[in-house]
Symmetry: C2
Subunit: 222 residues, 2 copies
Amino acid sequence: MSPARRTESLSREVVVTAAIELLDEHGERGFTFKLLTERLRTGAGAVYWHVANKEELVRLCADRVLGDALAAAGPEQDLRSLALSVYDALDRHSWAARHVIVLPSLPHALHLLDRIGTLLTGTPLPAERRFLVATAIFNYVVSVTAQDVVRVATVDTAAGRDALLAAYAKSWESLDPQTFPFLTGAATDLREHDDRDQFVTGLDLLLDGLRHQSGGGQPGEG
Amino acid sequence: MSPARRTESLSREVVVTAAIELLDEHGERGFTFKLLTERLRTGAGAVYWHVANKEELVRLCADRVLGDALAAAGPEQDLRSLALSVYDALDRHSWAARHVIVLPSLPHALHLLDRIGTLLTGTPLPAERRFLVATAIFNYVVSVTAQDVVRVATVDTAAGRDALLAAYAKSWESLDPQTFPFLTGAATDLREHDDRDQFVTGLDLLLDGLRHQSGGGQPGEG
DNA sequence: ACCAAGGATGGAACGTCATTCCAATCTGTG
DNA sequence: CACAGATTGGAATGACGTTCCATCCTTGGT
């Protein structure tokens, strides 16, 4: 594009914005300072003036993404739609979720945990269990979004994803039914797998458990 | 230590065993081929003869850990104790969980998913929901173990951990009660945080939801 | 308007890492 | 005993994060 150096001044915000773009384009593994300095038309030293190191930079990016997600999700939401808003936002930036942790604090992670905890205040859940349950829900939302157990997202077209799932499903069909009695019969389900549906299934299970526990119950002896 | 080269021949198994030791000692970030070749008393070329690259090696290590965990957990377990066995095994090798994915398949991940699905077969849960629910449980166990939302594990003494948690709890107390109405009151709970308790809380929530959804039966029990 | 002081910048230089390459050694087989 | 292929060790390579430093720019005091 342009060979010259930049005219506007750098700032932490500008660096983070460019980094998020590059993280989205190349993934965390493909995100390098070389790419970053090229896009910003500057040198490494300039970037390091605003940011301690790459790790801090990615953390700042993840916090920005989470902050935007929380701002976009109106404060009137219930637990389920809050969780879905966060899932959708983090899913658009698949590198981000793994950096969302409570301690050492990612600033907006505290906001999210607080919102979950506050929403629990309006339920019959015993007060002394609120923190454990809030953290469990936070944990589910962030962790499951981060792990991405079915990694077919590398393929960016929907058709390619379907083809890949179909190929895997076929290989499941030819597994040994003795050692894999369940999976051999589940190949069809795999073909219809969808990350978001999968997330929702677990979330509803969790929230049903919450209703059950706060209704009249003790955590069932499992 | 010893300057000589090794006498016994290398093998994939030997390499994986040494790698697991080093991963445990230095974490995934600190695990390098230099350390590995020093411990094995060989050169990089020899290691690459048995293993395609570092990523494959770590995946093999994770699969070994998961396989050992499944072998140790007897086949007669119910859902809850199976989940706890896997949690405990993966928690002993904190680098491993993040590499446990279903597609592209980590071999023993398929075994785990199959065992979860098979345990659901003895349940009133509608057959067409089994795969979704099994994957949800798999997802919870593996993802939550991987994410480690409260990263105080860097400190290896229990006393140090407590001190760190106490310090964080103190900082929560002085947050703005306006923006953090829940957390400011939860500092005490944080002080008592325990990763495993936290995992169990979410797991029981999930299993309660399962019992609830599957029509009041007793799925978790054999 | 001038000047010092420190805030910001760009890029060269450095050390570390994963990976590749190749000459050397071992092992089985005829 | 010789040859081919399997296996090994370590030097060479290239990419990367980070540090260093000379330079530029801004600001506030005079």
